[in-house]
């Protein structure tokens, strides 16, 4: 057993609202400096920077987790995490037909670059990523779970796109045993007894690792990333 610092909700520059400095290498480097051991990359409706992020984390000794922040048809933000990079990329492919074909307007929303191993731009996502998908909360949770992933509502303590603001209360279905808050103080009164993940939802390097959150996992502090991820998913599932 060991305590790990974590942040399971971070945006890269691929999210239009994410700062251009949030490149995969910079996030991994910042995580190392700030002392965050486990970091999940969760861009809006896309896992396309996760490959570069995994490579960057290898250089910095960070345990990466691949995923995305899915916008459901109700405009609820849901964190979707996968134990393996391959699973996340398969999920990325699966959600393509559910995305809204709304062209990104770079001058208004910002660019959506797909990054390579050394922070070079290897592509640009043409469709505006954060737009609602046509997957309802129920369908989205089912889809993530059927593909071996973990799905839970993001920032339930936030007015915009938080599950509680949109639905008033947790619905009977899908069942969420886990939820995310941004501010630990809100956990008890909002989570309704659910287990809580505290994450930053960082869009800028300066938002990241402002406070450190810890999780106890059944592995060694210096275990390889795949062992730490396995222990993390076991703990959160």
């Amino acid at each position: 057993m060991a305590l790990f610092t974590y942040d399971l909700h971070v945006h890269s520059c691929l999210s239009p609202c994410g700062d251009d400095d949030m490149t995969p290498c910079n996030i991994a480097g910042m995580a190392m400096i700030a002392g965050v051991k486990i970091v999940a990359l969760t861009d809006h409706n896309s896992c396309k920077n996760c490959e570069a992020f995994f490579m960057a984390c290898e250089d910095y000794g960070i345990t990466p987790v691949a995923g995305c922040e899915l916008t459901t048809s109700e405009e609820i933000h849901m964190v979707c995490l996968f134990e393996g990079l391959k699973q996340a990329m398969a999920f990325d492919k699966t959600i393509q037909p559910y995305r809204m074909p709304l062209k990104n307007r770079v001058e208004i929303f910002g660019s959506q670059p797909i990054m390579g191993r050394d922070d070079e731009i290897i592509g640009e996502e043409p469709w505006f990523l954060p737009a609602a998908t046509s997957l309802s909360l129920n369908e989205a949770a089912e889809l993530v779970r059927s593909m071996g992933g973990l799905a839970y509502p993001a920032h339930i303590d936030r007015e915009s796109n938080g599950l509680l603001a949109i639905l008033g209360t947790f619905p009977d279905e899908p069942v969420f045993e886990l939820c995310e808050v941004r501010d630990k103080e809100n956990a008890q009164k909002l989570a309704g007894g659910r287990r809580v993940v505290v994450s930053s939802d960082a869009h800028r390097l300066t938002d990241f690792a402002v406070t450190l959150n810890h999780i106890e996992l059944d592995c060694e502090p210096d275990s390889p990333p795949e062992i730490i991820r396995k222990a993390l998913f076991k703990k959160l599932s």
């Binding site: 109700e74 309802s136 909360l137 129920n138 008033g168 209360t169 619905p171």
Partner: protein
């Protein structure tokens, strides 16, 4: 008296669940953020929304609105319909937009008031 059935006829609304068509409509509300609707919709309102989640039925029950009208042709989730059936909530649908529906509901309410006065 403007009832749910009467409004249905006037606005060509499609019934999805209609346990009590004789329920009287006394006001209206439009909104999709359920945390807002919970605190603002009133008893007897015709509530116009594009939210389809099952919690719509819970909020309709809580606020005791006269009916829920799904605008823009959106279809409620099957759990929403089941819950509405269980709790006797009127669910209607329309291809019209929220703005247009609200205008038509206001018009119908004014016409009804006028009729009652004469």
């Amino acid at each position: 008296m403007l009832t749910v059935e009467k409004l249905m006829d006037k606005l060509e609304l499609a019934p999805i669940e209609l346990p009590d068509g004789t329920r009287r409509i006394t006001g209206g509300y439009a909104g999709d953020l359920l945390s807002w609707v919970m605190g603002r919709a009133n008893e007897g309102d015709a509530w116009v929304t594009i939210m389809t989640n099952m919690n719509v039925a819970a909020v309709a029950q809580l606020t005791d609105v006269a009916c829920v009208i799904f605008a823009e042709g959106v279809e409620p989730d099957k759990e929403t319909v089941l819950k509405a059936r269980m709790h006797g909530i009127n669910l209607l649908g329309s291809p019209k937009g929220i703005f247009e529906l609200c205008g038509l509901i206001s018009e119908a309410m004014l016409a009804d008031e006028h009729e009652e006065r004469n």
